[in-house]
Point group: C2
């Protein structure tokens, strides 16, 4: 059966990148690889919209999140953690693993945090040294108001804003330097359209100053050691050569499309997916949807896990279901990464056929029609 | 110019593996990937010669080494570290980064450690909780007497033997369970012939018992969390999917060759390389050479860096030079990974031509002739 991957990471890898990665291996200390690392470093600065070095680490996105804690805090430091999904919770778990004293802002899953809550927490407790936030919460399909959070954190001397931007950068505008974000994390298997295994992280000057005083132990994830190496187009340890070669190709593709073009593409596909849900009479789970992934409430009487299973087994389409208490209650259709109009049509069409199979009365084609109407509205080329 | 990669990692990646990794991306939570992870887990048990689960982490080999410290010790614990090269030194740096109190056995670079020194240190200080050792020291081309070290550590209740086997497993016999090794680390870009970016680590029951009491902080590198996931053919965080798909192919290739066949291949190539050095009248750097890489002393009056540079720029052959105080004094020719007789012939022939170019009087062909003679002696097929 022909397979269609429509999850929010790993996402499909373009043929251009697969071929680039299949080239003969490079020695990481030889000029050809150093040239490659130089190009990806420059490209990542462009993608992160920062003047800072964006460090490339062999690891999952979670490696970057771990590094965002252990490089900037000391044991017993206080942190403010915004939670409202699996990835917000992960920030809390990392902080607690390192003995960081956490204050939590718990947001109902599906909703975005009110930046005023962040402001109130910071006003109330001036000992807080860092805020850990999620730009786009993949588990719930929520886009948080990162710009608003940045506005209330920026300008506080002793407070860092550390952001999981893993499903945000390359999806919508996250201008690191303009918003004054201090630590920004990314993973390779999202908008960069690469296989998983490469983590990226950038830090502001304020964050580097905090790093000098941060005493949590670190070795493999020691960002200062990496910075000293990557400034010279070297790496502290053997890098994930094939993924970095793939990253070079990915960044070339994104540059051809332009940042604005990349964001517009995600916006078009996300809008059409949301319209399609409406066309099928289904509800979105999130009141503040992200352009990375669309979470749709499964209608009453239908088991969401059966939807995911049927789409996969009968139609070869892999989408994600809900996690934890959302298991069986939502399905998630991704549009982050290497997707185009007809991938969305495929997902929606498969969803229609699946809902019919499961005995839920929908009008076949009504979701696809709504997606098409949305595409017609947002089309920019002639 | 046609390029020849003869370094000790990354090593060349076989076409079969490159093609396997270029297949469409798999979702890490779908059955097809879980089947793959199950097969690589079984294959790694075979390769490590252990009944324990071999955990697969997205990261460099150093990630496994870091995990071998932070998962098994607490701050202030005492460790015995054997140093005699860059990688032995790395154990010390990792321990020190975590506040582990180190006793060092410093071995002259190029020599292997006498296991009796390990025994004496352990007898003298019963508070030592772990010994950190290197099976094959890539920076000096030394094979340490790991079996001897294991003999003096094994049976001491409170002491773990943690081994960097990154250029040992798949090169020569390192029977984890038989020798009673407690923690064993491996990286993908060595005998497994994969790109870098995947770390592997296994722990004995004794090590898992120590893990339960070890309080050093860890999150991304938390092995217990990975164990609980990988026992179910899942991973705690998004795995390096393409590298694990490549690993499946690599393990299939190694199984076809058999463990004994893989070790014999490395032995044949290493012996021929050492014979070739002798044939050229050059000295080996190591008095206890590893079959992973051969370190050859650069003859007096010749700059080793010029040898490496000339081989690369004039002949397209990438070999490694010396590091730190060995810079310019040795060259290192690898035979770990995807190499065969004529790769060694290429390296030796390139070395002969380079030495002639640099004005050092050798008899052209004398190294290659010695390699051929060695191959003739060790040939097993008709």
């Amino acid at each position: 059966m022909k397979e269609y991957l429509l999850t929010a990471g790993p996402t499909p890898v373009p043929e251009r990148i697969l071929l680039a990665m299949a080239a003969p291996m490079l020695y990481h200390r030889a000029p050809a690889f150093m040239e490659c690392l130089k190009e990806t470093t420059e490209g990542l600065k462009w993608l992160f919209q920062t003047k800072q070095l964006v460090l490339q680490l062999a690891g999952s996105g979670t490696a970057a999140m771990d590094a965002a804690v252990c490089n900037f805090l000391s044991k017993g430091d206080r942190a403010l953690v915004v939670r409202g999904g699996k990835f917000g919770e992960r920030w809390g778990k990392i902080c607690q693993a390192y003995g960081v004293d956490c204050t939590f802002i718990d947001v109902e899953w599906g909703r975005s945090v009110d930046p005023q809550l962040v402001k109130q927490s910071l006003d109330k407790d001036p000992s807080i040294k860092a805020v850990y936030a999620t730009a786009s919460e993949t588990s719930t399909g929520v886009k948080h108001d990162l710009e608003g959070i940045a506005r209330v954190v920026r300008g506080r001397d002793g407070v860092l804003l550390c952001v999981d931007a893993i499903t945000a950068i390359g999806v919508f505008d996250v201008p690191m330097d303009d918003w004054g974000l201090d630590v920004v994390c990314l993973g390779s298997q999202k908008a960069l359209m690469l296989p998983p295994g490469l983590a990226m992280i950038a830090a502001s000057e304020k964050a580097w100053a905090a790093n000098a005083k941060a005493t949590l132990p670190r070795f493999y994830l020691d960002l200062l050691r990496e910075k000293k190496s990557q400034e010279k187009s070297e790496t502290a340890f053997t890098p994930a050569v094939s993924l970095i070669v793939g990253l070079r190709e990915s960044l070339r593709m994104l540059r051809e499309e332009t940042l604005e073009g990349v964001w517009a593409r995600h916006d078009r596909l996300a809008k059409a997916t949301r319209s399609a849900a409406g066309g099928l009479g289904l509800e979105l789970f999130s009141s503040s949807p992200t352009n990375a992934i669309t979470a749709i409430r499964v209608p009453g009487g239908i088991d969401g896990s059966a939807v995911v299973r049927t789409m996969k087994n009968r139609y070869g389409i892999t989408i994600a279901g809900g996690q934890d208490h959302l298991k069986g209650k939502i399905v998630r259709i991704a549009h982050i990464g290497y997707f185009s109009e007809f991938d969305i049509v495929t997902a929606i069409s498969g969803l229609e056929m699946t809902l019919s199979d499961l005995g839920y009365g929908i009008k076949p084609g009504s979701g696809v029609a709504a997606a098409q109407a949305s595409f017609a509205q947002t089309r920019t080329s002639p």
